[in-house]
């Protein structure tokens, strides 16, 4: 299994993902600089978290124009799995690979803490290591994670099983108090139509090893590596 991570100026979670992928895939991912015009063969591409281009203009707007992202778009259209985490989610929205946008957290503060997520659709290449309604814990660390989209888009995401994760409480209830950033319908992560592109604000790579305090994020990388997580 081969994987690649796109690295932008300002990426800061690229190496965390590198460790998580190496652990699950058995091979080290290829680190691809944003200026590259060709991508290596990969079974998974990760657009990592961070502050690409210092979040200038809008989070992800500059990175979306990077040469490497043009290639990511082409591969995503061919069905290659693409995972965008945090700033990566913002970049995928700005690249039009995912609908909607991420704006300033409703509480205006940078939020950095563990949250609970309910798994909304476990029938994808990313989430098949989880079960429906499973409540998992993952860290968030963002200032612009408030997901917004037109009503018809939200309805479409709901009805097509394209909501991957919702923010919830420790009992799995997606309540308003469990929503850390004001996201519409408590959305923490969404898929594209074909479900080979996932964008999510929480960081699965930050809880993918017992040494990090938990392994709830690991099931995603194990599933992507084609393993059944036990």
């Amino acid at each position: 299994m081969l994987s690649a991570i796109i690295v932008f100026p300002g990426s800061n979670c690229d190496r965390d993902v590198q460790v998580a992928l190496k652990q699950s895939f058995g091979t080290a991912p290829q680190m691809v600089w944003h200026a590259e015009t060709e991508l290596p063969a990969a079974d998974l591409i990760v657009v990592p978290g961070g502050f690409s281009y210092g979040d200038y203009l809008r989070a992800g707007s500059m990175a979306a124009l990077a040469p490497a992202m043009r290639e990511v778009s082409k591969l995503a259209q061919k069905g290659v799995p693409v995972l965008g985490i945090c700033n990566g989610f913002q970049i995928l929205c700005e690249s039009n690979l995912l609908p909607g946008a991420l704006i300033r957290n409703s509480g205006l503060r940078f939020v950095c803490r563990d949250v609970y997520l309910s798994v909304e659709n476990p029938d994808t290449v990313f989430t098949r290591g989880y079960s429906v309604g499973q409540c998992v814990r993952m860290p968030i660390a963002h200032h612009d994670g408030n997901y917004v989209a037109p009503l018809e888009t939200l309805d479409c995401l709901s009805s097509e099983g394209r909501i991957a994760f919702k923010y919830c409480d420790d009992k799995g209830i997606a309540s308003e108090v469990a929503n850390p950033n004001g996201s519409a319908r408590n959305i923490a992560g969404i898929f594209n139509e074909r479900k080979n592109v996932l964008g999510m604000m929480p960081h699965p790579e930050r809880l993918a090893d017992p040494a990090l305090g938990g392994i709830d994020g690991r099931a995603m990388f194990e599933a992507l590596a084609g393993k059944v997580f036990s």
Binding site: R58, S61, E94, R104, L108, V148
Partner: protein
Amino acid sequence: MKIEVHITLKNGVLDPQGKAIERALGSLGFEGINDVRHGKFIELELSETNKERAKAQAEDMCRKLLANTVIEDYRIDIR
């Protein structure tokens, strides 16, 4: 030619920064503020001298980069 682009969140999109400014103004004693929308202001100096073409160019820039039309509205002023 100087182009001014004003970008604000669309009506209906919650503007948390606008709300914070509104509350802060209220705490300073300013009364009668019905709404505050926070946005961006971008000034462009274009070599184009034809107003129509300059505006069309700026429109294209707004759609492709300056504004995210999912959440933002833009207004182009030519000086």
